[in-house]
Symmetry: C2
Subunit: 142 residues, 2 copies
DNA sequence: TTGCGTGCAAAGGTTTTGCATGGCA
DNA sequence: TGCCATGCAAAACCTTTGCACGCAA
């Protein structure tokens, strides 16, 4: 899976990502963290390594907005187990949540059979409003 | 609904968007089209007007990638009718396609009932590989 | 006349790229 | 030793912002 040379920087980056498993981190945050802990890595290198990790399926990349930086998250092919794993992002509070649900297997099957489209759950993010924000909106607006 | 002054540029932009109904267009493409037809509008103005139109619900904005420009589409509250409208983006050829399908109503309903999540079809994009690219991959790789 | 809309240019921020250097195998 | 990875700086790109001017109401 992993191609190319193994480098110290690669290990450092992967270690940080693993520590942050379950949450998301931007390239800028990665660089700041590494600088703070005394193991700085160049920005370009971080981008290049992350791109490879995304290709390998070890890391997910989320494009939340066009103007905010991309978010990365370690998944290691394990986090979501053998279930199909989706994410949804709340447009109000910004929360990103994992979803494990059989329903989505059906969705994948449907897209495959009826639309010829092979869905990539890793990269697909549902946008909308989460339960908590819906409650707070209701109680505020009325 | 529409607030503020009515201007010539606003009419021109809206007219172009209506002509492109059913497809997507970037800010850059908008500017080039208008320049080509002899009615140029400043880039900043296009951004500002589109932002308003998005707020008014007349136009949809899709952030497909972090590095590609945002796509805009005229809907006028009508285009997708009462159907739920989704998009999928091919990770290989970059194609962005509309989907109209009852299946997604069920998906919305499921997310609502079982996960408390109010899906925003306007902003949700499915990523994966389209039919044509799947065929070409098969014939190329093997 | 008032004040929003426009257009130009500049700024802001993220991501990519070129090139010389350093490190892995 | 050969080649990929790294790091710095510069470039590229999309989008936003400041400000003076023009136009709608």
């Amino acid at each position: 899976m992993a191609s190319g040379y193994r480098t110290k920087q690669g290990d450092i980056l992967l270690e940080l990502l693993k520590q942050r498993q379950g949450s998301h981190i931007t390239v800028n945050e990665v660089c700041e963290c590494l600088r703070a802990q005394g193991t700085p890595i160049g920005t370009a290198t971080v981008y290049r390594r992350l791109e490879k990790l995304v290709d390998e399926g070890v890391v997910n990349k989320y494009n939340i907005d066009n103007n905010s930086p991309a978010c990365f998250e370690y998944i290691g092919g394990e986090n979501c187990g053998d279930e199909v794993c989706f994410h949804y992002k709340c447009e109000k509070c910004g929360k990103l949540v994992h979803l494990h649900c059989e329903e989505f297997k059906e969705l994948c099957g449907h897209l495959d059979k009826h639309h010829g489209f092979l869905l990539d759950p890793m990269r697909t993010v549902f946008y909308g409003i989460c339960e908590e924000c819906r409650k707070s909106i209701k109680s505020t607006e009325q």
